[in-house]
């Protein structure tokens, strides 16, 4: 079993697992009673989407998606900080 087939096999098996956990996070985003719950779910959803992009970029053999994965992770962190700032001081700064 050469390396290429091994990697492609394992990664294609993992994709449905990734997608189910995204759906579970999406359920918490919709259901979350309060704002922090929703932001927390979007947090984990965004971070795991970034990881999924990195893993997927191995499967499709092109390093283009990794940069957007990194950017997505940074933006999700910014979302966290903005929401925290808004919740605490009712202003977003700037």
């Amino acid at each position: 079993m050469d390396v290429e087939a091994l990697v492609s096999l394992v990664l294609t098996v993992l994709i449905p697992l990734y997608v189910t956990s995204f759906l579970l996070y999406a359920v918490r985003v919709v259901k979350g009673p309060t704002i922090p719950d929703r932001v927390l779910a979007i947090d984990s959803l965004g971070y795991d989407l970034a990881a999924f992009m990195v893993v997927l970029s191995i499967l499709v053999r092109s390093p283009l998606m990794v940069v957007s994965g990194l950017t997505l992770a940074l933006w999700i962190y910014a979302l966290d900080i903005y929401i925290a700032k808004y919740l605490e001081a009712r202003e977003m700064g700037g």
């Binding site: 390396v3 290429e4 091994l6 990697v7 394992v10 990664l11 993992l14 697992l17 990734y18 189910t20 956990s21 995204f22 579970l24 996070y25 359920v27 918490r28 009673p33 309060t34 704002i35 922090p36 719950d37 932001v39 927390l40 779910a41 947090d43 984990s44 971070y47 795991d48 970034a50 990881a51 990195v54 893993v55 970029s57 191995i58 053999r61 092109s62 390093p63 990794v66 940069v67 994965g69 990194l70 992770a73 940074l74 999700i76 962190y77 966290d80 900080i81 929401i83 925290a84 700032k85 808004y86 919740l87 605490e88």
Partner: protein
């Protein structure tokens, strides 16, 4: 030989990451309130995002068939995993602090609120 070791190690890390991701998702659904869900979310964020990125970087380094662009992939994956390790914690902490101070998140199933005792609430 070293390539096979790298690829296998990376794949193991990715599988562990998917497992953490799944557990984090289930934890986020089943835990009663926001403060308990913080644990599931950060476990899902670190175990489910940082670990697979390091694994993907190892796989990218070991997979010869990807050709020269694989080093960009490995570098970017390592960078974003280290960044994510720092940012996920800081963001969740800021969110938890804001939720506590603004009282937005319900604290009902709680045994002992240390912060209120010290008057920090």
């Amino acid at each position: 030989m070293i390539d096979l070791v790298l690829v296998v190690a990376g794949l193991v890390l990715i599988v562990i990451g998917v497992f953490y991701d799944f557990i984090g998702a289930i934890g986020l659904l089943r835990l009663p309130n926001f403060y308990t869900r913080l644990h599931a979310a950060t476990a899902g964020a670190i175990g489910g995002a940082v670990v697979p990125m390091i694994g993907a970087a190892l796989v990218a380094l070991g997979a010869e068939y990807l050709g020269p662009p694989r080093f960009f992939l490995a570098g970017a994956a390592f960078t974003s995993s280290i960044l994510l390790m720092i940012l996920a914690q800081a963001g969740s902490h800021a969110l938890a602090r804001a939720a506590y101070i603004s009282g937005e998140a319900q604290r009902e199933p709680i045994l002992y609120d240390a912060l209120r005792e010290e008057g920090g609430g």
